[in-house]
């Protein structure tokens, strides 16, 4: 190869690397990071045992103590997932990246509520509610969603 071909490769390759490099980085490390976190969540859920959460408003057992419990999480997609989501939204249909992120976030928020229930010494959480709201960074740059899980913890 002569100097000209190398020059051509560099003049096209370098700008491409700067333009798509972060997305490639995001794809590799994002996948690795999210998979490890999701695995951790599944393990925590499995280790917890019986689910104390219910959406019922009343419970037949007599209660001795109660209190409000709130757990929240803010979820966002990675740069790569955001780009894929953008491409998906052109054609419509299921936007798998946001789909996965939101269901993961909801699972995590509920698990946090379960752990809060256990840590504050309650036996069950009744009237559990989930709420989602959009949080935008300054200049609307970072699109993120907040998921709140709350309910009334009761002690039998």
């Amino acid at each position: 190869m002569n100097e000209e071909t190398w020059g051509l490769i560099f003049s096209i390759g370098l700008p491409m690397l700067f333009a798509f490099g972060p997305f490639l980085f995001s794809w590799i490390f994002g996948n690795w990071y999210q998979n490890s976190k999701q695995k951790e969540l599944v393990e925590r859920e499995a280790a917890f045992g019986a689910d104390p959460l219910t959406t019922l408003r009343t419970i037949s057992e007599a209660t001795t103590d109660s209190g409000l419990l709130v757990a929240n999480i803010i979820m966002s997609v990675s740069w790569w997932q955001g780009m894929i989501g953008g491409i998906h939204s052109i054609f419509g249909g299921t936007i798998t990246t946001w789909d996965k992120t939101l269901s993961w976030g909801r699972q995590e928020a509920m698990q946090r509520l379960r752990e809060k229930c256990r840590d504050s010494g309650f036996d069950s959480v009744i009237n559990m509610r989930l709420e989602t709201s959009e949080i935008a960074g300054s200049k609307g740059k970072t699109k993120a969603l907040e998921i709140v899980a709350y309910g009334t913890g009761i002690k039998f």
Binding site: S26, T58, S66, G67, L68, I74, S76, T101, I135, T152
Partner: protein, 127 residues
């Protein structure tokens, strides 16, 4: 100058009533489980508007490379929600209630990257 700062202190609703002194029960059901409601004292509200630190905003943007949870924002909103609840409880304590039932939360984003957190409920006196 001292007077001015004292006046500022008084303006903070948290400074007026210490909710820790009067134990206020909270629940998001119609009643406090296991108790009966004697008297309703109307709706109590608490709200707070919070914006993110610019450094946190940049860090969150970087964290976005891998996606997932944005811990800085989670903590911020947790604190903000706790403050909104505290203000609601202070309002209830001022009315002489000892419980707040049917607590609801609402969040709305305000321009400039700020978020308003709002908590409301019905102040009641338990029998």
């Amino acid at each position: 100058m001292k007077k001015f700062f004292n006046a500022l202190n008084l303006m903070q609703p948290d400074g007026q009533v210490q909710p820790q002194q009067i134990q206020i029960l909270m629940s998001n059901t119609e009643t406090i489980p296991g108790r009966t409601i004697g008297q309703s004292l109307g709706v109590v509200t608490g709200s707070t508007v919070r914006a993110k630190h610019i450094g946190k905003d940049i860090l969150a943007g970087l964290k976005n490379i891998v996606g997932g949870e944005l811990k800085g924002y989670t903590e911020l909103l947790q604190e903000a929600r706790a403050q909104a609840l505290q203000r609601m409880v202070a309002d209830a304590a001022k009315r002489g209630a000892n419980a707040v039932v049917n607590v609801r939360f609402a969040t709305s984003s305000v321009a400039g990257g700020a978020a308003e957190l709002f908590a409301y409920g019905t102040a009641v006196v338990l029998q």
